[in-house]
């Protein structure tokens, strides 16, 4: 059944927006109605009606899009597929699994675990839905061990629009429309059609437990020298030891926060126990490295991801002891979907995000700039925000997967997500300016002049992540290369786009352009 939410509906103010309260920028940018669909037939009907009426469709699964790609659709139609949220065995007696685009990752993990004892190597924010997460690559705690989510996808059901405006259903896989199959494996949502099913022939076995411990350093006693030491220690590990396969079950996170009262630099290590032995020697070895960096403190409940940075009173620190870090160990499922899971503020918080894939450790010049930016005073504003440095590499870096998927970044060892959150719309301009300046400055250190301000592909960087889209990047004519590399992927995606969406029905500010 289709439920229509128009401007007269009391649900409209809530349903016209996503999680990021910045969007839509203005009432005039908002959709005319939201069509909530419960089935593929519903989606087909709504999409056909929308196209025939000359209106623009945008599609929402979980509402986590970082930019305005979905809710900025003046007088258009937002097709809500959040109720296509199944996680089941593949239909028709086939082996494998199928996941609906509206299934949120927390439920996907739970269902796959309870029913089949498998999981997807998915994301760390558990209210993100499969539709957006899987379309843009999908990575998380298990990525170093098992690769990206899209590396496991073996098929899609998708609705596309023919040149004559007719909506058709397609099943695509390696044998059927292989060009579209590849494009759908990571080039980002909102480009080709409406995905109604993701298929996986097989999935990795779920870990048994997850153990997390961490260290932190207070900003009060921080010096630039110490900051450089800490951050380079982290990077050195992933340049070398961290790429050895026995370390791949470990996910780490380093949170570089802006200096401030009670502010701390956080580092955590999470170990996935696969065999019941829960040997923590690898995360111990990693965390011990930081005890040489100065006044490291343990954290009672280590942070799993950047989405758990405390906003109120910080966790109570206590001394660190080499080899005896304070682990929180729990069943993998509980640890993975417990807490708020980065559920976000459901449209009440404003956010801005940027990203960078790093192939090498941080350089001194880069760290000098990061330190300067994180210690910079902004009159009348507490910048907040965080540069989240996630461990990367391992199973992701199988070079052949760059040619089989639409995720070209297969040589990086760390993945950075720049995040800033605030509440007051009046701060938008100043915060966005600060954030842009910070990023531009940092990525002018190791980049040639023609690409300065971006982590353009070179010996240090591998561009940006399309699931952390940053509209600031489109001011650079080479922005598609930032996200899709320099080896012909973007021209390939343009051909696919032209073939399967010849009318450019599906478009947004950073969509594949033909």
């Amino acid at each position: 059944m289709i439920s229509t939410v128009d401007k007269q509906d009391p649900r409209y103010p809530v349903m016209r927006r996503g999680k990021n309260a910045r969007f839509p920028h203005a009432d005039s940018d908002a959709v005319s109605r939201i069509e909530v669909c419960e089935s593929v037939a519903d989606v087909t009907e709504v999409l056909q009606h929308t196209v025939s009426a000359g209106l623009r469709p945008t599609v929402r699964s979980g509402g986590h899009c970082y930019e305005d790609f979905v809710v900025n659709n003046p007088n258009g139609v937002l097709i809500d597929v959040s109720l296509l949220d199944h996680t089941t065995a593949a239909a028709g007696g086939k082996s494998g699994y199928q996941i609906g685009p509206g299934a949120v990752l927390g439920v996907v993990y739970t269902e796959l675990y309870r029913k089949y004892n498998v999981t997807v190597p998915g994301g760390t924010c558990y209210s993100v839905a499969a539709g957006g997460h899987l379309s843009g690559g999908g990575y998380g705690l298990l990525t170093r061990l098992h690769g990206l989510s899209v590396d496991w996808i073996t098929g899609f059901d998708i609705l596309t629009v023919e040149a004559n405006g007719k909506v058709i259903r397609r099943h695509v896989d390696r044998q059927h429309e292989p060009d579209l199959f590849r494009a759908l494996r990571g080039s980002g949502g909102g480009n080709y059609g409406v995905i109604t099913n993701f298929y996986f022939d097989r999935l990795p076995t779920a870990p048994q437990t997850l153990s997390t411990a961490g260290v932190s350093f207070p900003w009060e006693t921080m010096t630039e020298e110490k900051f450089v030491h800490i951050v380079q220690t982290y990077g050195t590990y992933f340049e070398g030891r961290g790429q050895e396969p026995d370390t791949w079950p470990m996910f780490t996170f380093m949170g570089l926060t802006h200096k401030g009262p009670n502010g701390r630099i956080y580092i955590s290590a999470s170990w996935h126990d696969l065999d019941g032995k829960n040997d923590l020697s690898v995360p111990n070895e990693f965390l011990d490295l930081f005890l040489k960096c100065g006044d490291a403190s343990a954290v009672d409940e280590a942070l799993l991801t950047s989405h758990q940075i405390p906003t109120g009173r910080p966790p109570e620190p206590s001394p660190c002891i080499a080899g005896k870090h304070r682990y929180t160990t729990g069943p993998w499922l509980d640890a993975t979907v417990g807490g708020n899971g980065g559920a976000g503020a459901n449209g009440t918080t404003r956010g801005k995000y940027k990203s960078c894939y790093m192939k090498k450790n941080f350089t001194p010049d880069e760290l000098h700039r990061i330190y300067a930016q994180l210690t910079r005073d902004i009159p009348g504003m507490n910048p907040g925000g965080i540069i989240a440095v996630d461990s990367y590499g391992g199973a992701v870096n199988k070079a052949h997967l760059a040619d089989e998927t639409a995720m070209p970044q297969r040589a990086s060892i760390m993945k950075l997500q720049y995040q800033m959150y605030w509440q007051n719309p009046a701060e938008d301009e100043a915060r966005l300016k600060y954030f842009d300046e910070l990023y531009t400055d940092i990525y002018s250190a190791n980049v040639d002049a023609s690409h300065a301000g971006t982590p353009f592909h070179n010996e240090y960087y591998e561009g940006c992540y399309i699931n952390y889209p940053d509209a600031d990047m489109i001011r650079y004519p080479f922005w598609p290369e930032l996200y899709y590399g320099q080896k012909g992927l973007y021209p390939f995606l343009q051909k696919v786009k032209k073939k399967y969406d010849p009318n450019n029905i599906f478009h947004h500010g950073m969509a594949i352009r033909t």
């Binding site: 623009r56 007088n75 040149a163 007719k166 001011r475 947004h508």
Partner: protein, 381 residues
């Protein structure tokens, strides 16, 4: 759709030539002296047809008789089409670009015209909606409350509200068109030209990709399709003009150079009642004489005058003048005494006196040259 008439017949052409020959026997000087000298400002858009690099300009000329003096050369991103506000000293330019502020969209600007000097001053630029790329035409609604823009490469129409001072606001209605065909044999929508019916909110649009003329009702927040009239295969309607009475629509076809006459039944477009085929399928532009009595076509090596039957709206060729170059745009001066023509290849701008009594032209005079000129308008002093 039925073709009621074939191409221009030998008889029609002979008739036209005969009229032209007879005209040479008349005393043109006596007619020429009765008309007031041309005076005003001409606005020529340049660079709008090759917009990849977004360069372009609007050249402003002060015109006195056959003297065109440049008063301004304003750098403008790919102006493909110009429109004058009917009551205010305001010029609109459609920017045929694929990116505006880094987003995939075109834009429209409004320029104040200095009443005495003709100088243009940018008042506002309004980006179009996402994906509305390479707009190439726009039309003002009769009440001057809206500007309807056709984004050819995007297959999108945008309706922009106009403030009482004529300033365009952000699009309040967007219509995304689809094309024809399935699988490999496809044509996407390419809306090329829009025109409002004098009655108000009804607009007719020519789409070279869809091979059709569409009728839309344009209201503040919607562009509603009322009817779609298919053109003959390969026609590619590219320009529309409605008769001064509003009872007919003339469609010029880029595909084969033909012109179709469509009667209006109410506001519904009937199938073509007449199709004039061109011997050379590159008829590029047409213009309606202010009296509503003549339709001029430029292209195919000729400048041709078609007389309009006031009752049926049908067209009859009455004169033809050889024209060596390919016209990029033609426009009558408001008094109808001159046709301004811009040439695609040479950039020459010529001015041809027109004699409405007989429907014929004097030899054109080259008055200026603007490289890559693509659109021209004249505003009387």
């Amino acid at each position: 759709m039925t073709r009621k008439s074939g191409q221009w017949t030998r008889r029609q052409f002979n008739q036209a030539l005969a009229v032209a020959a007879a005209w040479t026997l008349l005393d043109r000087r006596s007619l020429a002296t009765t008309r007031p000298p041309l005076a005003g400002f001409a606005f020529v858009a340049a660079g709008g047809e090759s917009p990849l690099d977004q360069r372009g300009s609007i050249q402003v000329f002060q015109v006195a008789g056959s003297r065109w003096n440049t008063v301004q050369a304003l750098s403008v991103a790919a102006p493909a089409h110009l429109e004058l506000h009917p009551h205010l000293p305001l010029l609109y330019a459609v920017h045929a670009v694929g990116l505006w502020n880094s987003l995939p969209r075109g834009a429209v600007s409004a320029y104040d015209i200095h009443p005495a000097t003709g100088h243009l001053t940018l008042r506002v630029t309004q980006p179009l909606s996402l994906a509305a790329i390479y707009p190439r035409h726009a039309a003002l609604s009769p009440d001057v409350r809206h500007l309807l823009v056709a984004a050819e490469d995007g297959g999108i129409y945008n309706l922009l509200p106009l403030a009482p001072d004529g300033s365009p606001g952000p699009p309040t209605a967007i219509r995304k068109e689809h094309g024809l065909g399935e699988a490999g044999d496809v044509k996407t929508a390419r809306p090329r030209h829009v025109v409002f019916h004098p009655s108000g909110t009804t607009a007719f649009t020519a789409d070279v990709g869809q091979e059709s003329i569409s009728t839309f009702t344009c209201e503040r927040d919607s562009i509603r399709l009322e009817e779609r009239t298919c053109s003959h295969a390969g026609a590619g309607p590219s320009q529309l003009i409605h008769s001064s009475s509003g009872s007919c629509v003339y469609a010029l076809h880029a595909g084969d150079g033909s012109i179709a006459v469509h009667r209006l039944e109410g506001l519904q477009i009937a199938a073509a009642s007449q199709i004039l085929s061109s011997r050379r399928p590159d008829t590029a532009r047409m213009a309606l004489h202010p009296t509503g009595r003549f339709l001029i076509t430029a292209g195919g090596g000729n400048l041709t005058t078609l007389a309009i039957d006031p009752r049926s709206g049908s067209l009859t060729a009455i004169s033809s003048m050889s024209q060596q170059q390919h016209p990029a745009g033609i426009a009558f001066t408001p008094d109808g005494n001159h046709l301004i023509s811009i040439q695609d290849d040479s950039g020459e701008i010529s001015q041809a006196p027109f004699h409405a009594a007989a429907g014929i032209f004097d030899a054109p005079q080259i008055v200026a040259r603007v490289e890559a000129a693509c659109s021209v308008l004249f505003r009387s002093a």
